[in-house]
């Protein structure tokens, strides 16, 4: 296996991350189009891929404007925070054995920490804009992300208990026989929902609910600063998908490893295929599920998701203890 230098790998992730996020904007619009019986962007280039370039040129050439009433320093800093935090999150993702920037023994906690940092971006962006819609969006996102943070972390504790480690490589290796999506199905459901809420993607994009808050926290943003928010959102989507694959769907391991014992695709390819599946699932969620009301979102979080998570934790612990005692 070719060993990638961490710096080279970091550069690679940076480039692939940004390019992937740009590509995703087109892919998502195309998929949404198909699911809504239309085509989506299909004009520029083959299948409309050139739309990505056109959008990028448009965003780059736009006037880089800071509203006079905004808090200038924070206003400029906020969009970068989300991109940096999400990029940092990729540091611990094990793309395949050997292709990982750093394998820390608290990789899972590092990932959770980095996604939590993203809330600062949204909150500061909303505050610094000095605009009532932006402020409300920022407030909403803060409370949404903080409350979904709680059981996002807790939903993963079942996996940690079964693996006995916070290291993501260890977690992937522990799924050699059975993926955690079977044994931790409840955890998977909760993590997916919390992940959408955490990256504030469409069913839970209340921070930027167009119908009531104009554009929420990025009302006052335009040009590249807005593009940074979008980049952060898509990076977050990719990061969450990568984590779902790593934690619940066996990471880089293909099904062939279990059934045929023939490795007919490199591990990175399996990882990518799984990520694409999860991303498509997220887009499907966006196309299908209506946005809940804000109080529904909160009560879903605290009254349904949290009890499910705790129940899952108790069951997992009990079963583990029972197995430790000798099982049947």
């Amino acid at each position: 296996m070719f060993e990638w230098g961490p710096i080279m790998l970091a550069m690679g992730i940076l480039i692939f991350g940004v390019a992937g996020a740009a590509f995703l904007t087109w892919w998502e619009r195309r998929l949404l189009g198909f699911w809504q019986d239309r085509y989506g962007p299909n004009r520029i280039g083959p299948f409309g891929v050139g739309q990505v370039v056109a959008d990028m040129i448009k965003l780059l050439l736009k006037d880089d404007w800071v509203p006079p009433f905004a808090d200038r320093m924070v206003f400029v800093f906020a969009p970068t925070a989300i991109v940096v935090a999400m990029m940092m999150g990729f540091a611990v993702v094990p793309f395949s054995p050997g292709i990982q920037i750093i394998d820390v023994n608290i990789g899972l906690l590092f990932f959770l920490g980095m996604t939590s940092l993203a809330v600062y971006s949204v909150l500061l962006g909303g505050l610094a804009s000095n605009n009532k819609y932006a402020l409300l969006g920022g407030l909403r996102s803060a409370s949404q992300m903080v409350s979904y943070e709680v059981f996002m972390g807790l939903s993963l504790m079942g996996i940690v208990m079964m693996t006995g480690s916070f290291s993501l490589v260890e977690i992937v290796k522990a799924q050699e026989n059975v993926w955690f999506c079977f044994s931790q199905a409840l955890g998977l459901i909760v993590f997916v929902i919390a992940g959408i809420a955490e990256s504030h993607r469409l069913p839970f994009d209340l921070p930027e609910a167009e119908h009531e808050l104009t554009a929420g926290f990025h009302t006052e943003y335009g040009g590249m600063k807005f593009a940074m928010f979008m980049l952060g959102e898509y990076l977050g989507l990719m990061l969450i998908s990568a984590m779902i694959v790593t934690l619940f769907f066996g990471g880089w391991m293909g099904p062939s490893l279990i059934i045929f014992e023939i490795n007919w695709l490199p591990p990175v390819a399996w990882f990518t295929i799984k990520i694409i599946f999860v991303i498509n699932f997220f887009v499907l969620l966006r196309a299908a599920i209506p946005r809940p009301r804000y109080d529904q979102l909160m009560s879903l979080g605290w009254k349904v998701m949290l009890p499910i998570t705790l129940f899952n934790l108790v069951i997992t612990g009990a079963v583990l203890l029972w197995l430790q005692e000798g099982g049947l």
């Binding site: 189009g33 198909f34 699911w35 809504q36 019986d37 239309r38 085509y39 499907l284 969620l285 196309a287 299908a288 599920i289």
Partner: protein, 171 residues
């Protein structure tokens, strides 16, 4: 929860359905012959302008986009000295066509009249006037009207009887 999954399945099935989109510039929509689009000024079968500059179209126009000036020919017939339609105001309602007594002004099935310069949306008479007869191939106003022109005298028009001699006692 279950209804959400059901919704997702139904949406997913749309992946295999044909898109409703009409790929417009490549795939032109059918426009009916009476479609109300770009306005033209037609000529009668003899190749003369039909417009008699009566101003009824300008009066009927709800957005006041038509402007014209009457002038008189040597034989006493009227024609528009200039005829101007501002298509940036025109709403293609067809009121002018309904008001026109000579079938001169007509709407055509064409709506592709974009311009980069707003001033280019103002069409003058040379832009509006076409060489054809439009929707009424045989109609010639001066053949059916009682007006005396260079080519015909009173009572010589189609469906017209000779003028009654009011000074005579004969029926």
């Amino acid at each position: 929860m279950l209804s959400s999954l059901r919704t997702m399945w139904h949406i997913f099935k749309h992946l295999f359905q044909k898109a409703e989109t009409v790929q417009y510039p490549e795939q032109m929509p059918y426009l009916a012959p009476r479609y109300r689009g770009r306005i033209v000024l037609t000529r009668d079968p003899d190749g003369e302008e039909r417009c008699v500059a009566c101003n009824l179209c300008a009066a009927a126009c709800p957005v006041d986009c038509i402007a014209l000036q009457k002038d008189t020919r040597d034989d006493g017939t009227w024609y528009p000295e200039f005829f101007r339609i501002n298509f940036s105001r025109c709403i293609m309602c067809g009121m002018c066509e309904e008001a026109c007594p000579t079938y001169a002004i007509q709407l055509t099935p064409d709506f592709e009249m974009c311009e980069y310069d707003r001033q280019n949306m103002v069409y003058e008479k040379e832009h509006l006037l076409i060489d054809g007869v439009g929707k009424y191939p045989d109609y010639n106003f001066y053949r059916v009207s009682g007006l005396q022109t260079a080519t015909k005298d009173k009572g010589e028009a189609i469906n017209e009887e000779l003028p009654i001699d009011t000074k005579s006692l004969m029926p």
